[in-house]
C-alpha cells in the first residue's frame, strides 16, 4: 500500500499545479492550430508538443539538475545543499537562487550532489542548451533557409530591397513603443526585452529566436509562439491593411517582366553580402553569414550534395529539436504572465506597422520613379516567406485577374529576410553593448 502511495505521489495528478494544467491546455491549442488550421505546423507542432512535455507535473523535463534536486530532493539532500549555499533551512526558489549564484566550483559541487542523488538535467533542458542556449540551431536553420532562397527576383529588381528595408520600421517602432509604455508604467519591459519583442515584426522565426535567446531568454517561449502564430496569420492580418492603404488603381499596376539574372550574379551576391556584413555589421555576421553560406552552396553548383543536405536532413533534424527546445520555455511561471499579453499585442502592432511601412514605401518610390511598383508587393517586405508574397499575389489577382505579382513580391520578400537579420544585428550591437 505504501508502494501504491509512493507511485501515486510520484504521479502527475498528485503534483499538478494549476499553471501547468493551463499551459498544457494552451499547448494542446497550439497543436490544434498547427494540425487542423495549418498554422506553421513545421514549428508549432514540435513547439506545442515540447510545451506539453515541459509542463508535465513532477517530470522536470525542462529543468536543470539543480532545479530538479531542489524541487524533488529528499530532506537530506536539501540540507546538504543548504549547507553548501551557506543557508539554513531554505527550500524552493530561494534555495535555487542562492545555488545558482555560487561560484562555479561550488556550483559544480552542488550539481555533483544532485547527480549522486539520482537527479539529472531534464531532456528538454538538454535540448534547449544544445540547440538554443548555444545559439546554433537558429543559425543552422538560417543556413538551410539560405540554401532554399532564390535571390533572382531581388537581383533583377534591386529597388525592391528598399521595400524590405521599410518593412523593418515595424521592428523599431515597436521597440520604441515598448520602451515608452514601460516608461509610463503600463508594461514592464527592459530595453533588451523590447528589442527582442520588436523582432517579432521581422516575421522571421529563427531570427526572432536567435535574438531573444541572447537578449531575453525568459521571454523566448512567448516571442517564438507569437512570431510563428502571426506568420501563420499573415493571410488574415495583412489584407485589410493592404486594402486600406492602396487604391484599386494602384493594386492594378502591372509590373514589367523581370530581367534575366545570370548565374554569376547569383554566385557573387552572397559573397558580396557577406563581405559587406563582415566590414560593417559584425553583430549580424552569425545570422547572415550562415544564410549566405547556405545560399552560396546552392548557387555555386559545385556542392550540390551539401546544399541538398542543408535543405533537407539537416534543417529537418534541427527543426525538431529547435521546436522542442522552444517548448521548454513554455512553462507556467514564464508564460502565464501579463507580459505575454503585452508581447502578443506588441507583436501584432509590429507586424501591422511593418506591413504598412512596406506599402507606403512602395507608393513613395512611385513618386520618384518612372518604373511604377505595385504597392501590394511592399507588404511582402516583412518576409514571412513565401506567405506574404502569396498574399500580395492574391490581392493583385483580386484587382486584376491577369496581374500575377508573385515573382515581383519575392524580391521584397527575401529582402525582408536580409532586412530583419540586419536589424537583429543592429539591435544586438545597440542593446547588448
Amino acid at each position: 500500500m505504501e508502494k501504491l502511495l509512493l507511485l501515486w505521489s510520484s504521479s502527475g495528478l498528485a503534483q499538478a499545479e494549476m499553471g501547468q494544467v493551463v499551459m498544457i491546455a494552451v499547448c494542446l491549442l497550439l497543436l490544434y492550430l498547427a494540425i487542423n488550421k495549418g498554422f506553421e505546423p513545421l514549428l508549432l507542432l514540435p513547439i506545442g508538443f515540447g510545451g506539453v512535455l515541459a509542463n508535465i507535473p513532477g517530470a522536470g523535463l525542462a529543468s536543470p539538475v539543480l532545479e530538479n534536486a531542489v524541487h524533488f530532493g529528499s530532506a537530506a539532500l536539501i540540507d546538504q545543499l543548504n549547507l553548501l549555499a551557506g543557508a539554513d533551512n531554505l527550500s524552493g526558489k530561494a534555495l535555487l537562487h542562492l545555488l545558482e549564484g555560487l561560484a562555479p566550483a561550488d556550483r559544480l559541487l552542488a550539481e555533483s550532489y544532485a547527480h549522486a542523488a539520482g537527479f539529472s538535467d531534464g531532456m528538454l533542458y538538454q535540448f534547449y542548451s544544445v540547440a538554443i542556449g548555444s545559439g546554433i540551431a537558429p543559425l543552422v536553420i538560417f543556413m538551410g533557409v539560405g540554401a532554399m532562397t532564390d535571390f533572382g527576383p531581388l537581383l533583377a529588381n534591386p529597388k525592391t530591397l528598399i521595400l524590405g528595408a521599410a518593412a523593418q520600421f515595424g521592428i523599431f517602432a515597436t521597440v520604441l513603443g515598448a520602451v515608452g509604455l514601460s516608461a509610463l508604467g503600463l508594461m514592464d519591459f527592459s530595453l533588451a526585452d523590447a528589442a527582442a519583442i520588436g523582432i517579432i515584426g521581422g516575421a522571421d522565426g529563427p531570427t526572432a529566436i536567435y535574438v531573444s535567446s541572447i537578449l531575453a531568454p525568459d521571454l523566448l517561449g512567448a516571442i517564438a509562439v507569437a512570431a510563428y502564430s502571426y506568420m501563420a496569420l499573415v493571410p488574415l492580418i495583412q489584407p485589410p491593411i493592404m486594402r486600406a492603404l492602396t487604391t484599386v488603381d494602384e493594386r492594378k499596376i502591372v509590373m514589367s517582366q523581370l530581367r534575366d539574372v545570370s548565374r554569376r550574379e547569383k554566385v557573387l551576391f552572397p559573397i558580396i553580402l557577406l563581405v559587406l556584413v563582415a566590414l560593417l555589421l559584425p553583430d549580424a555576421a552569425p545570422l547572415l553569414g550562415m544564410f549566405c553560406l547556405g545560399n552560396l552552396m546552392r548557387e555555386s553548383g559545385v556542392v550540390d550534395r551539401l546544399s541538398d543536405t542543408a535543405q533537407n536532413a539537416l534543417i529537418n533534424i534541427t527543426t525538431i529539436f529547435l521546436g522542442l527546445s522552444v517548448g521548454a520555455k513554455l512553462v507556467a511561471d514564464k508564460f502565464l504572465d501579463v507580459n505575454t499579453l503585452g508581447i502578443l499585442a506588441l507583436g501584432i502592432v509590429a507586424f501591422s506597422i511593418g506591413t504598412a511601412a512596406g506599402i507606403l514605401m512602395a507608393k513613395c518610390l512611385n513618386l520618384f520613379s518612372k518604373q511604377k511598383v505595385n504597392p501590394l508587393i511592399g507588404s511582402a517586405g516583412v518576409s514571412a516567406v513565401p506567405m506574404a508574397a502569396r498574399v500580395s499575389n492574391k490581392l493583385g489577382l483580386e484587382a486584376d485577374p491577369q496581374n500575377f505579382l508573385l515573382m515581383h513580391a519575392m524580391g521584397p520578400n527575401v529582402a525582408g529576410v536580409i532586412g530583419s537579420a540586419v536589424a537583429a544585428g543592429v539591435m544586438i550591437a545597440l542593446v547588448g553593448a
Binding site: 494540425i35 487542423n36 495549418g38 501563420a232 493571410p235 502569396r390 492574391k394 489577382l397 508573385l406
Partner: protein, 67 residues
C-alpha cells in the same frame, strides 16, 4: 513489483477505455477524415488553392521564359 504490475495494467486499462471513448466520440461526427488544412478558411492563403497554384505556375513559367 506487484504494485508495479498493477499500475501497468491499470494504466493500460485506462488507455483501453480512452480508446473506446475516442472511437465513440469520432463516430459522432460524420466519418470524414480530419479536414486537410487547405480547405479550412484560414489556411486558404497558406496552402494555395487551385487557382493560386495555376497563377503561380503561370508566373513562374513567364519568369523562366522571359529571356
Amino acid at each position: 513489483m506487484f504494485y508495479g504490475m498493477t499500475t501497468v495494467v491499470l494504466f493500460l486499462l485506462l488507455l483501453v477505455l480512452a480508446m473506446r471513448v475516442l472511437a465513440w466520440f469520432v463516430s459522432l461526427s460524420p466519418t470524414q477524415a480530419v479536414k486537410p488544412a487547405s480547405t479550412s478558411t484560414l489556411a486558404s492563403g497558406a496552402s494555395p488553392n487551385e487557382e493560386t497554384v495555376a497563377a503561380i505556375a503561370a508566373a513562374v513559367k513567364r519568369y523562366r521564359d522571359r529571356t
